[in-house]
Amino acid sequence: MADDRTQIDEVQDHAEEAEAASPVRDLPEVPIVASLIESFPDAPFTTAKYASSETVYHKISVPVADWVAFAAEAKDAGFDTFIDLTAIDHFSEAPRFEVALNLLSTGDAERIIISTRVPYDDPSVPTLTDVFAGANFYEREAYDLLGVEFSGHPDLTRILMPDDWQGHPLRKDYDVGAVPVEFKAGSLDV
């Protein structure tokens, strides 16, 4: 792959650009996002635009230590609807796993995607089930398919794969696999 730049690099680039442009960080125009960003000034922040639409949404990455605190803060700020939680395996990059939380503010019609990175040798993220009860199934799914451990989760079991399954299929080092097909010499003398 020619382009080895990571998403984090890009996010950081954007942050650096923003800093270079003005000493004070560019705060988004949306008040609820701005207030949220103000309480976590070091977190890299970008805004992206939907295709075929004027709609924008916000992405922010926070250190794993701030994960629950940020989610709780976002909930208080108005991002009260839990939409999605997923994990991404960046395989060859240093903090290998990314966990992304997607929250919606139905009052202000804003969306924020909060992500954090955890390393391969300790893929542990504190659970969000205390903040959003709906994180339960999504965290189980991320654990099942990518092996990210959610510490403090009340029922961290497999959800889509069978209980006795080995490995985490959506990891990049997990082979896609194939079903061996045995071809036998056919005979039609029934």
Partner: protein, 472 residues
């Protein structure tokens, strides 16, 4: 089902034999023993069910289930006095139960007829489609995603295509957007027709099943005419749609709309004031707005609970904001409101379709970007470049720049979102699907706890889950 009542007599016999050595596992297994037919002899059930990690634990040991029941979120049901312990039993509904809309399994703790706790167990239809997506090019990707929520294939294709287009940074001709809106809104009509059909059947209005499918068939005929297939169309693709609408499509849509709206009138006449239907649905399976937000419930279920939220209004896509339509909301969040909201939505979709019909722009139905859209067949004979582009598109696929993108559309069951991570190249690095049915299944315990079994079926029918979407 060969479940035997846990009589005290049998319990005593076993306890007498080996009181100390009975471990917890044995204790559980003992409950699964069955009697040899016609005798007093007990036969050990060789393949005793082993629930493994999915076993429903006693109340005080199962915090996750307490959260799901809604205790931690919003205690909107009344805890009734317990019936004696002996009457409590845990049974499985599904995975093959016809009322579970696919292979959904519910472990239910019953006290007589009362459902105390519900534990949804999923994964029976998991086929690793997100993993498969990583091996398919962006050109092939829409054939994969269209199979997830098989009752709203156009929405899946649209969410996927929009996300890829977001990464590509391309804009579409107006006609492409209008065709997409036409097809997705027709798909919403088809999906809600199927909902009325299956919900009617689940509640006991058996003729609804036939009526709903009858009208849906007309919509599917139009889909077949446009895309060649009744479902899994692969019609909406990154860069536009696969083909232009066929000649005379306006007449087809007009006649289809007549049939559907006459059909919906008939359903409303049948159901809306039907005392049996009302008894089965009013105040049943209530979800509060707070619970909806906590569990990620969107779409008609959230609107039935009074949340005024529709992505078509709040975060419009493909120019849907050009059309006039209302967002119906309910107040009570019960099964009846979910039904009535969907029926109202169906009429609103017909309104949108009518406007698309009147304002369908002329022009191209896909982008002219040669890196995304294959050249017309005629050009291949004339131009070397066209030949190369055609070859590259169909051998390696669309090159998508690196980045992450999320885009969602308002599906018939709620927000269908696609979270796409690209590291360059022609295949996604990771594709995650935000499935509305997955969220709905998670909220089932909150709807169903402390209700009757019959209400449980009604509540399940009202969420309209598609297990292909839940398990992916």
């Amino acid at each position: 089902m060969t479940e035997t009542p846990d009589t005290t007599e049998a319990t005593e016999t076993v306890d007498d034999q080996t009181p100390e050595t009975l471990g917890v596992a044995d204790e559980r297994r003992r409950r699964h023993e069955i009697w040899v037919s016609g005798t007093e002899e007990r036969m050990p059930f060789a393949a005793a069910t082993n629930e493994g990690a999915q076993e429903m634990l006693p109340r005080d040991e199962d915090p996750a289930l307490a959260i799901q029941r809604g205790i931690a979120v919003d205690d909107d049901f009344l805890e009734q006095p317990r019936i004696v312990d002996e009457e409590r039993q845990i049974i499985n509904m599904g995975p093959q139960h016809p009322s579970t809309h696919g292979v959904l399994r519910l472990q239910i703790e019953l006290e007589g007829e009362t459902v105390r706790r519900v534990k949804p167990i999923i994964g029976y239809l998991h086929t690793g489609m997100e993993k498969t997506a990583e091996t398919l090019t962006y050109t092939q990707g829409s054939t994969n995603v269209t199979r997830m929520d098989y009752l709203s294939p156009f929405f899946n294709e649209l969410a996927f295509s929009l996300t890829v287009e977001q990464l590509l940074g391309i804009d579409l001709p107006e006609r492409a957007d209008a065709i997409r809106i036409l097809m997705t809104e027709l798909n919403r009509v088809a999906s809600h027709l199927l909902f009325t059909a299956t919900m009617g059947m689940d509640i006991g209005a058996l003729s609804m099943m036939i009526y709903g499918w009858r009208e849906r068939e007309v919509v599917l005929d139009f889909f077949e005419k446009v895309t060649g297939l009744r479902m899994n169309h692969n019609y909406i693709r990154p860069g536009g749609v696969a083909a232009d609408l066929p000649d005379g499509w306006q007449d087809d849509v007009v006649s289809l709309m007549g049939v559907v709206s006459a059909g919906v009138d008939e359903y409303e006449e049948l159901l809306n004031e039907n005392p049996i239907f009302l008894d089965r649905t009013l105040g049943v399976g209530v979800l509060t707005p707070e619970e909806c937000k906590q569990f990620g419930i969107t779409g008609p279920i959230a609107r039935a609970s009074g949340i005024e939220w529709d992505l078509r209004k709040a975060m419009p896509y493909s120019g849907i904001d050009k059309y006039e339509f209302d967002v119906p909301t309910g107040q009570h969040g019960d099964v009846f409101d979910r039904y009535i909201v969907r029926v109202a939505e169906l009429r609103e979709s017909l309104k949108i379709i009518e406007q698309v019909l009147d304002t369908m722009p002329t022009g191209d139905y896909r982008t002219t970007d040669p890196k995304v859209t294959p050249p017309p067949r005629k050009r291949i004979d004339e131009s070397m470049e066209a030949l190369i582009h055609h070859f590259k598109l169909f051998t390696s696929g669309i090159e998508v720049p690196p980045g992450t993108a999320y885009q969602s559309v308002e599906g018939p069951r709620g927000e269908i979102g696609c979270h796409l991570v690209s590291k360059g190249g022609t295949r996604p690095w990771r594709m995650h699907w935000r499935a509305p049915s997955f969220a709905a299944v998670q909220a089932l315990p909150a709807m169903m706890s402390d209700s009757l079994i019959a209400d449980l079926i009604a509540a399940l029918a009202s969420t309209d889950p598609v297990l292909g979407d839940v398990d992916r």
